[in-house]
């Protein structure tokens, strides 16, 4: 079998064996990597319903969504004015209050209670907590300050507080997620 031209038998076996080992290697790595992703039970509990009937204007509550806090805030007319007065172009993450709320429900500001810097829970939703110099939220970890539309105004956070996907199931119930 001393072939001198074309693909030799040994070359073929060599390439086939290395290729098979490579494919098998990928087949081993995929499950090894994938098992670390969020499991089905974690993903299954990824929506939550909140009763908002008791929240008076100027008040806010912390609900739990995906094991993280979500702020549901009933803005006062003054806070809405305050948010609308800001020149949007001057913001780090330019968004209007209207873009961050639902049509006809501009007073309901629903955001994640997770600072976009490194994930701390900002203060300002609980009774008696500081709201920071812009009247919204203040993160105690590294001093990020959010305004009454939960937009980043000062400090290291790069983005506004995230608005999760949600809808009003009725006038008093919000389904988040």
């Amino acid at each position: 079998m001393a072939e001198t031209e074309g693909v030799r038998r040994r070359d073929f076996i060599n390439i086939a064996a290395v290729s098979a080992a490579g494919v098998a290697g990928i087949g081993v790595v995929v499950p090894l990597v994938s098992q670390m992703s969020a499991s089905a039970d974690v993903l299954a509990s990824s929506s939550t319903e909140v009763d908002i009937s008791a929240i008076q204007p100027g008040q806010a509550i912390k609900a739990v969504f995906r094991k993280q806090p979500v702020f549901v805030r009933n803005l006062t007319a003054h806070e809405i004015d305050e948010a609308n007065k800001v020149d949007v172009a001057s913001l780090r993450d330019p968004q209007t209050l209207k873009e961050r709320t639902k049509e006809g429900k501009e007073n309901w500001l629903i955001t994640m209670g997770v600072c976009t810097h490194l994930g701390c829970v900002p203060l300002g939703a609980g009774e008696g907590e500081t709201k920071g110099e812009f009247g919204g939220y203040f993160c105690p970890c590294h001093g990020s300050t959010y305004d009454t539309a939960a937009r980043i105004r000062k400090g290291p956070a790069p983005k506004n507080l995230e608005v999760p996907a949600y809808e009003f199931s009725s006038d008093t119930v919000v389904k988040i997620g």
Partner: protein, 438 residues
């Protein structure tokens, strides 16, 4: 490799000879940390911290295995199992506090070990590989310590995990999926706690492996010494056993005195009271701080408060924090001076004592302070100098500095003109220029 005058292992009886012919493990130990390893005779106390670091690693592994026997990595019970270990398990308090304070002791020792490397130029040729492996060990230690701090599932555990895994979210495009993959969810929870426990148990053994490589690489050229002059003759060295075994034993005793004072009288001094509150994802502690040994790097992370051209502040902070350690990998090539020891480098020494050391002290202090002025500004200035020291000062200093004259040999540096010393060769063609052996 070793020096030609190194003592050879000779089995003392038929049994050890039988073993030596089949598996020369006693010979390996003899040549590594026994009488078969010649060591420069002039080592000072800064050369004790390698052995002490090894001792800390053993201490952490032994106490850690005990802790794992009483611990359950489940968010519902993790906090309680640690508290029950302390209160109910026989001697549990001893193992828990020895493990927690052992981590701090390990970092004290390792920082002094690294300090030695910086001052005496231990990272220079031919010991670059020793240095690179050392930086790898340091990174592995930081990962292990971070994950270990999460396991008790107190408030600082939880929020430390959230902040540090949040760093990965700063990476463009892949950040958020990567963060969810690392945590196995949207926030630290059972999945994250379990994998942190698994890795916290694994990584110390990886460290053991890299430590073996570190020592192997060290034994190729042999230990450096305070003069930075390479070993030339037998009179420059003494055997590791008994000379440095005895000295390391003495240092171990001193270390254990200090360690047991911490362990028995101040077991919570370096901890944070908030970590005795069970983790609560709904409420952030007012002042999140990592363990003290991360403070300098945490200060660099927080120093970036505004965007740097097109790079967001958050990403910049993360890059700088990791860069602060990664820059050490390039140190052997940034410092081009052929003279190793800071004792013979007047300019380098000034920048070391009046530049790098105060900078580290400021970063250390600011990392544990609240994120407010003047600490932010101080961190920024210190972070600026930190990077300038490695990337600008060291290359320039090593190019323009005129080093002091080096002793001809280690023996000369120890004995001066003593008659018994083997000094510069008499023959003129032997090259008596006191140049460092590079």
């Amino acid at each position: 490799m070793s020096f030609p005058w190194a003592k050879e292992y000779t089995p003392g009886n038929p049994l050890t000879q039988w073993v030596d012919e089949r598996l020369p493990l006693p010979r390996l130990v003899y040549n590594a940390i026994g009488a078969g390893y010649p060591v420069p005779r002039n080592l000072n106390y800064f050369w004790n911290f390698g052995i002490l670091a090894g001792l800390c690693l053993v201490l952490q592994i032994v106490t850690g295995i005990v802790m794992a026997m009483h611990y359950a990595a489940n968010t519902a019970v993790a906090f309680d199992t640690v508290e029950m270990t302390v209160r109910d398990v026989n001697w549990g308090w001893l193992f828990r506090y020895a493990h927690a304070n052992g981590a701090s002791a390990f970092f004290v020792v390792i920082y002094l070990h690294i300090f030695r490397g910086f001052y005496y130029g231990s990272y220079k040729a031919p010991r670059e590989m020793v240095w690179l492996l050392g930086v790898v060990i340091f990174l592995l230690m930081m990962a292990t310590a971070f994950m270990g701090y999460v396991l008790p599932w107190g408030q600082m555990s939880y929020w430390g995990a959230k902040v540090i895994t949040g760093l990965f979210g700063a990476i463009p495009f892949v950040g958020e999926p990567l963060q969810q993959w690392l945590l196995g969810g949207f926030a630290p929870d059972n999945a994250a706690l379990n994998r942190f426990f698994s890795l916290h148990y694994l990584l110390p053994f990886v460290i053991v492996g890299v430590v073996i490589l570190h020592i192997w690489a060290l034994h190729i050229p042999g230990s450096s010494n305070p003069t930075g002059v390479e070993v030339k003759t037998q009179s420059d060295t003494v055997p590791f056993y008994p000379y440095f075994v005895a000295k390391d034993g003495w240092a171990t005793g001193l270390f254990l005195v200090l360690f047991t004072i911490m362990l028995f009288y101040l077991p919570n001094q370096l901890g944070h009271p908030d970590n005795y509150i069970p983790a609560n994802p709904m409420s952030t502690p007012a002042h999140i701080v990592p363990e003290w040994y991360f403070w300098p790097f945490y200060a660099i992370l927080r120093a970036f408060t505004s965007n740097f051209f097109f790079i967001p502040a958050k990403l910049m902070g993360v890059l700088a924090m990791f860069g602060a350690i990664l820059v050490w990998f390039f140190l052997p090539w940034l410092d081009k001076s052929p003279v190793r020891s800071g004792n013979y480098r007047p300019l380098y020494r000034k920048f070391f004592w009046f530049g790098l050391i105060p900078t580290m002290a400021v970063l250390f202090y600011c990392g544990g302070a609240p994120a407010a002025e003047p600490y932010v500004m101080l961190s920024q200035l210190a972070a600026l100098y930190y990077f300038a020291h490695f990337l600008i000062v060291i290359p320039i200093v090593s190019a323009i500095e005129k080093p002091l004259p080096l002793p001809y040999s280690i023996t000369e540096s120890v004995l001066g003109k003593d008659d018994g010393a083997q000094l510069a060769p008499v023959s003129p063609d032997a090259g008596i220029a006191p140049a460092p052996a590079a």
